[in-house]
């Protein structure tokens, strides 16, 4: 290849590269403006004493120390992990099971698919208000009316510290499981049917087919959805805020709700609110890195 030709190729590549950057430029600008800048600004704000949204004085890590030293932070941190735990317990397997059941349904598949997805179409606040009527501790609460038919006296639910988080997660799962199930169904539909046929001919039971064909086929997707679920649940806010207001006695207070309290709960301390936000981001980043590490390692083994 002569020199002129090499220069021409290099020039062409540069030209293409320039064009590519030009095409990406609006997206990058928008991304920088709406995502990166607020993100970095939040980190910067967490290091300052603030007066409403203005940065008054650089105070290093004082906001972090102050926030983390308070009892409500440790309570909110424990609660947030509890939300995640209950979410994985109640909400992780359910969409898979739901997808498998709907996938195996012969008649009315479309109906069941729509029915499963329907709660996801309801506005989040409406769902919370709906369920608050269900779990009301008054005699007029729906669950209490049902229990009264069985002769059980009225109970309280949302005022019990040990019940509120599982209840909130149940509601969130009721709303979101259908949408996740649809994603699993799409993945399950992609599994080669010949594998099932071969397994059936070889005498594999339903459980064996699920275990050795279906689950390995959706494992990567499940891993991705798992980490997305953790990230999402870790940022839970409006459900406890509307349903229990973080109570009783901070038993359902989440980290994001604590952040909201610092910013808008009366003290307007955006510096401390940003510190909580940065801590949440750091925890989520750490969890994502750990997940990616094990995921990559597993891929290497594969």
């Amino acid at each position: 290849m002569n020199r002129r030709r090499r220069v021409a190729i290099a020039g062409g590549k540069r030209n293409e590269s320039f064009k590519s950057w030009l095409i990406m430029l609006p997206r990058l600008l928008l991304f920088a403006f709406f995502v990166w800048e607020p993100l970095l600004e939040s980190v910067r704000m967490s290091l300052y004493k603030t007066e409403n949204v203005e940065l008054v004085k650089f105070i290093g890590l004082k906001n972090f120390i102050s926030v983390m030293g308070k009892a409500n932070f440790s309570q909110a941190l424990v609660n947030t992990f509890a939300y995640t735990f209950w979410s994985l317990l109640i909400g992780f397997l359910l969409p898979i099971v739901l997808a498998m059941i709907i996938g195996e349904t012969v008649r009315g598949k479309g109906f069941f698919r729509t029915a499963a997805y329907l709660p996801n179409m309801l506005p989040g606040l409406a769902v919370i208000i709906l369920w608050s009527a269900f779990f009301s501790g008054e005699k007029s609460g729906v669950l209490n009316i049902l229990l009264s038919k069985l002769g059980t006296p009225a109970q309280t639910y949302l005022t019990r510290a040990n019940l509120v988080i599982p209840i909130i997660i149940t509601i969130a799962t009721w709303k979101g499981a259908g949408a996740t199930a649809l994603i699993y169904m799409a993945a399950m539909a992609g599994v080669n049917p010949e594998l099932y046929e071969a397994a059936t001919i070889d005498g594999a039971s339903v459980w064996q087919r699920v275990r050795h064909i279906l689950l390995p086929s959706i494992r990567k997707l499940a891993g991705t959805l798992l980490i997305l679920q953790i990230i999402s649940v870790f940022q839970i806010m409006y459900e406890p805020m509307v349903l229990t207001k973080g109570g009783p006695d901070n038993a359902s207070l989440s980290l994001m709700q604590l952040m909201w309290q610092y910013a808008f709960g009366g003290s307007m301390d955006y510096g401390k609110a940003s510190a909580v936000a940065v801590i949440v981001t750091a925890i989520l980043l750490l969890m994502t890195v750990v997940y990616s590490y094990f995921n990559n390692k597993e891929s290497d083994w594969d």
């Binding site: 600008l29 928008l30 409403n52 005022t159 901070n250």
Partner: protein, 508 residues
């Protein structure tokens, strides 16, 4: 084709960016069609003849043709508001247009919350006038987020009539005024008479035999719970509401003066004092309401202000700590008949009889000009919120009370924030004309204030919302855990709030 598509795409993106980066809205720019557009006259539903007459009276001559500016009016009623209310506001607007032809009024549906106001004030888009509760003025004044109207207020002659207690709440350290009272309220107790009747707690005239002390409240609540199965007392113990109500109970247990829940020591340092014997006794009382007397609503920890009114209005509870400014909530809004509703004084405690006095005020955007401040005072004068009497103002008041009566809300004497006897008497005369309730169900409340048998107190002075939040958490623990340790919980809350006070004031 491809090139032209790319060019078009880039052009579109550029347009979006330019639109997104548009400058601030000019405060004096003419109103444009937007969310803040005024309801069209044709949209205003029909109102009663009597109300029309009142509105027709809202006309007068030009007062100042030279005053030229634009003011945006927060809290303008939404299109879905009752017809009578909309018509009243349209009347105010028409009067303003006649008296000040060069002042442009831009109605704005904006409803204040601390969280939505701050970015608007910083961005220069806050409405010229808005209505925060009395818990927020000092916070907003301290952070420079509101406008000074002292000169405009002095120019119209209202400054000297301002009640000193309200000046304290709405001025900075230099005495500059940043707000005006809209409505003052005093905390008392709402009663569902139907449940009192069912429990046999009415006299031969059918008037409720109501609790005059906190002890009686517990006992009467117990009778009501036993006889009706409904909660004796609805207690909103969520967010900050529980702590807010608790402070009033604590005052009646003696948490005032040197035993106050928070105070400034000789060095000027703010001290939290949740563990005084008086505060502990008050919290034990709350605990007993749940575990000894069992009179509270089942979901107290998730009940908020609106929920408590709803419980009383729908007959789920017999009593609710509430003020005179929210009597429309259980009645007009939740359907409790006026004859089944009463407002009584806050029950006395073992160490005194206090009631919280507060309310809602008008405050102003930080960037208002002198002309805008003058126009805003003129607007408030038309609304009847300044202590002046003329035909227009009286007509405005009459319209207001007629609208209230039309929608079935109790029309009651208002607690005035102005030291002006003539104004206060005239207002009372108009209210009497429109009064739609049996005043025997309200007299004790108002008499307790006018005769001074109950002492009025403002909210706790330093970081009240945070204080309420801390105390609400303690209350929640008390009413959800039977064996909860009062002293331990209050000590923890005290440490937490003291740390907050140190961070925010003492160490600065």
């Amino acid at each position: 084709m491809k090139k032209s598509s790319k060019a078009l795409a880039l052009l579109l993106v550029l347009c979006f960016l330019i639109a997104g980066c548009g400058g601030q809205k000019d405060a004096n720019a003419p109103a444009t069609a937007s969310a803040t557009e005024a309801p069209k006259a044709t949209d205003v539903p029909q109102v009663s003849e009597e109300l029309k007459e009142e509105l027709n009276a809202l006309t007068s001559d030009v007062i100042d043709p030279d005053l030229t500016c634009t003011i945006t009016l927060g809290n303008w009623p939404a299109d879905t508001a009752p017809a009578a209310e909309l018509a009243v506001f349209e009347g105010y607007k028409a009067t303003m247009a006649k008296q000040y032809p060069n002042v442009t009024l831009v109605p704005d549906y904006y409803s204040y919350t601390l969280s939505n106001y701050v970015p608007m004030a910083k961005g220069g888009t806050a409405p010229s006038i808005f209505q925060p509760p009395f818990t927020d003025p000092q916070l907003l004044i301290g952070q420079g987020l509101v406008g000074d109207v002292t000169d405009a207020l002095a120019a119209c002659g209202a400054l000297e009539k301002f009640s000193p207690s309200y000046v304290e709440m709405l001025a900075d350290k230099n005495g500059r005024i940043y707000g005006l009272p809209r409505d003052g309220y005093v905390l008392g107790m709402h009663i569902n008479i139907a449940l009192f009747r069912e429990a046999g707690l009415v006299d031969e005239e059918g008037l409720p035999i109501y609790p005059k002390t906190l002890q009686e409240l517990a006992e009467y609540g117990q009778i009501i719970k036993e006889k009706t199965g409904k909660a004796g007392l609805v207690f909103p113990a969520s967010e900050t509401y529980g702590g807010w109500l608790f402070t009033n109970i604590a005052w009646n247990f003696g948490c005032v003066g040197e035993n106050a829940l928070e105070y400034q020591d000789e060095d000027g340092r703010w001290v939290c004092n949740f563990t005084s014997p008086q505060a502990i006794a008050a919290m034990e009382y709350i605990r007993d309401l749940k575990w000894k007397y069992d009179i509270l609503n089942a979901d107290a920890t998730t009940t908020d202000w609106a929920g408590s009114h709803s419980s009383l209005g729908t007959g789920e509870a017999a009593m609710n700590f509430a003020a005179d400014d929210s009597v429309d909530q259980p009645t007009a809004n939740k359907g409790l008949p006026l004859e089944d509703f009463a407002l009584i004084p806050f029950p006395a405690g073992p160490e005194g009889r206090y009631a919280l006095a507060g309310g809602t005020c008008y405050m102003f955007a930080p960037n208002i000009t002198a002309d805008q401040a003058t126009a805003l005072m003129a607007y408030l004068r038309i609304l009847g919120k300044l202590p002046f009497l003329d035909e227009d103002i009286i007509a405005g008041m009459r319209s207001d009370y007629a609208a209230k009566r039309d929608r079935g809300a109790p029309v009651l004497p208002a607690i005035s924030a102005w030291n002006d006897e003539e104004y206060n008497n005239a207002k009372r005369a108009i209210i009497d004309e429109f009064c739609n309730v049996d005043m025997r169900l309200y007299n004790d409340f108002f008499d307790s204030i006018s005769e001074g048998t109950i002492s009025l107190r403002a909210e706790e002075p330093a970081f009240a919302q945070q204080l309420y939040r801390e105390l609400t958490a303690v209350i929640q623990r008390m009413i959800t855990r039977e064996g909860a340790d009062v002293v331990k919980a209050l000590t923890q809350a005290q440490e937490s709030f003291q740390e907050y006070l140190d961070d925010e004031i003492n160490n600065n």
